[in-house]
Assembly symmetry: C2
Homo-oligomer: 308 residues x 2
């Protein structure tokens, strides 16, 4: 099965998994899944599997679907907490069905992760650790916003957990399912982790620089939440910026945005993302040459170079 | 290990499992767990295990903890949707930490269920099915409230999924871990299911008749949600009640409560709960006599006879 066929099959696995006679859960789950999304996590898993010599990609689809559902569940819950009304170019579940059903739809997607992972035995602990980390990362972020306590270290701790841990688990599972040895698994975990960090840094930058239509989600929210600000800090490392911004009494959104653009913090964020990308690609040296290895190199590049 | 020792050990397994360096998750999880609760689901699982001849109760503790965490997660999310401010005699997580952190704490507890269940391989699918059913039941309930579309059938569908399915899975896992055969597992699943139905019916009745202090949670919420009303319908089977209540334009809470009490619907609910209890106890005939079998009979009785 080629990767494009596998990615199409993945869509069906996900849609089948959320079938329910409870209409709201069925409809809301399909609504968010059919909106698409980049599917970067399952793609990373499938490519890792193939690049490690795996030949039965159909055996990986449920795990790949599980990873994407973890992400999707977190997105649905995130839109409740952030009051996001647009997601993947559509009204968010929260906007269409309201908070109660959005909360339950997110729970439903989380529970479907269990079902999808049930056949994988030993890999369950890998994904569960990543899912715990994701929730911890979201919580650290909400706390940092509430306490206005951002630093570069806090920012990296947040994105390591809320994003990079899931990328890492996807790479781990792909490699493990292909029967890779420990050293290869460890190298690919590092690839996934660094790609995940780069992905989130670019996500936060795009939240500042792109408009909602381009992003397919409500932009500026992450900034309001303080994430974007964290990028500024991660980007230039000057605590003065934090102090300066905190002193801005009016229109903090514009102030932060201007501050970031003027300080070329965004270019610095790109520099960091590209360093992480290079580190990720270097980890792939353990793999033999193959079109799938090339595709993993491409994926790391696209994560940084995308415009939405 | 005696059952009381096992139940104490269970507390430690649960508390250990929610340890996190993310302070809010750590504190909020301990807050809701240390508040206690009846622990009826893990108790049912441990007793089932022992009654089926299991002798290594320490091997069951993580699964029992997982079942209780599924319930606890749903309670934390339920208090967001129902605006519950008191739970287990304490301020709810929602009341103390706010909606965002309550949502994340519930997610955290759900993700810890994965971790706890990781060692159990084939049993994962049993618990995941029950967890899916729980979320479906909560959603059906929210839909029924929203659409004012309750009937006895809808009520039983709701409580079958949101409560009885988890009790059934607890009995199933206890029996399976003790090495019971298919027929015994099936009988104990039925025991769990019927005890779960009786438990929820009594829960809904107590929500009408007991005060908040007695219940340890905000009372009347379930009634406002329409659940309590569903009990009325389940209790007396008269569609007229539904119509009559719907016609009450003022103070519907008091009106429903008065209507139920006057029609002796509560006594009828107890009759149903006792029938379910008898059916549950009859299922235990497959088991040899033992103190644990007696304890399962007692548990079914206490579920109906409790006052909170």
């Amino acid at each position: 099965m080629m990767i494009q066929q596998a990615m199409q099959a993945l869509e069906n696995v996900m849609l089948d998994s959320v079938a329910s006679d409870v209409k709201t859960l069925h409809d809301a789950s399909r609504h968010i899944l059919e909106a698409g999304g980049k599917r970067v996590r399952p793609r990373l898993m499938l490519l890792t599997y193939l690049a490690c010599g795996g030949t039965a990609v159909e055996n990986v689809l449920s795990a790949a679907a599980a990873v994407e559902l973890v992400h999707t569940a977190s997105v649905v819950h995130d839109d409740i907490n952030d009051h996001g009304v647009v997601r993947r170019g559509r009204p968010s579940v929260n906007a269409l069905w309201g908070r109660t059903f959005a909360l339950l739809t997110g729970d439903f997607l989380f529970t479907k992760v269990y079902e999808l992972m049930a056949p994988y035995k030993d890999l369950n602990v890998i994904l569960s650790e990543a899912t715990v980390a994701l929730v911890e990362g979201e919580t650290l972020q909400a706390s940092a916003v509430k306490e206005n306590n951002f630093s570069r270290q806090v920012y990296y701790d947040i994105i390591s957990r809320k994003t990079a841990a899931l990328f890492r688990s996807a790479a781990h599972m792909g490699a493990a399912l292909a029967g890779a040895g420990e050293a290869t698994i460890e190298a690919l975990r590092l690839y996934g982790f660094n790609v995940g960090l780069a992905f989130q840094i670019i996500d936060d930058v795009l939240d500042l620089t792109a408009d909602s239509e381009q992003l397919g989600k409500t932009s500026g929210i992450d900034l309001q939440q303080g994430r974007g600000y964290a990028v500024a800090y991660a980007g230039n490392g000057e605590t003065k910026t934090q102090a300066a911004v905190a002193e801005q009494p009016t229109d903090p959104l514009t102030a932060i945005k201007a501050k970031m653009l003027s300080r070329k913090a965004i270019e610095e964020a790109y520099t960091q993302a590209n360093m992480l990308r290079a580190a990720a690609v270097a980890s792939l040296d353990v793999l033999p040459e193959s079109p799938y290895k090339d595709a993993l190199v491409d994926l790391a590049r696209l994560v940084v170079e995308r415009d939405h």
